[in-house]
């Protein structure tokens, strides 16, 4: 029985991950190739795309630089999770 996929940490990390995935697909990049450009491990890139990482400012900027998109675009209109 396949292990159930881990849920996203929040709507914010889920949407961030969806935006990363959409941009990666737009560029026609594999996860491995994108990870190389971003400068992070491909397993980490996969976790971010699945919304499973509350990544730091520096890592957000690595994603933006690697995927040639402004960092602001990746987090615009997101709201903080309710605690």
């Amino acid at each position: 029985m396949p292990t159930p996929a881990k849920a996203p940490l929040s709507d914010a990390t889920r949407i961030f991950g969806e935006r990363v995935l959409a941009r990666r697909n737009q560029l026609g990049l594999s996860q491995e190739k994108a990870a190389e450009l971003i400068g992070l491990h491909w397993t980490y890139v996969g976790q971010v795309e699945r919304g499973q990482r509350n990544l730091t400012l520096h890592n957000i900027l690595k994603f933006a630089t690697g995927l040639e998109i402004d960092a602001g675009k990746l987090i615009e209109n997101l709201s903080a999770p309710i605690e």
Copy 2:
């Protein structure tokens, strides 16, 4: 002799901090009042303003929500630190 102020972690955290400080001043908020609205400790807010924190996505969104500014605006045009 006063202890020397800790340097910012990177240009990105320094600029992020400057943007937070500018927005807080624009709203005429003290650090304590801003911390209350952001939902984080005022000492943490001070460290972020001084560029000393590589904060997470969730905390970036807390700053944006608390200071009533779109999160994208706080990180637009920033680049990842060179490692």
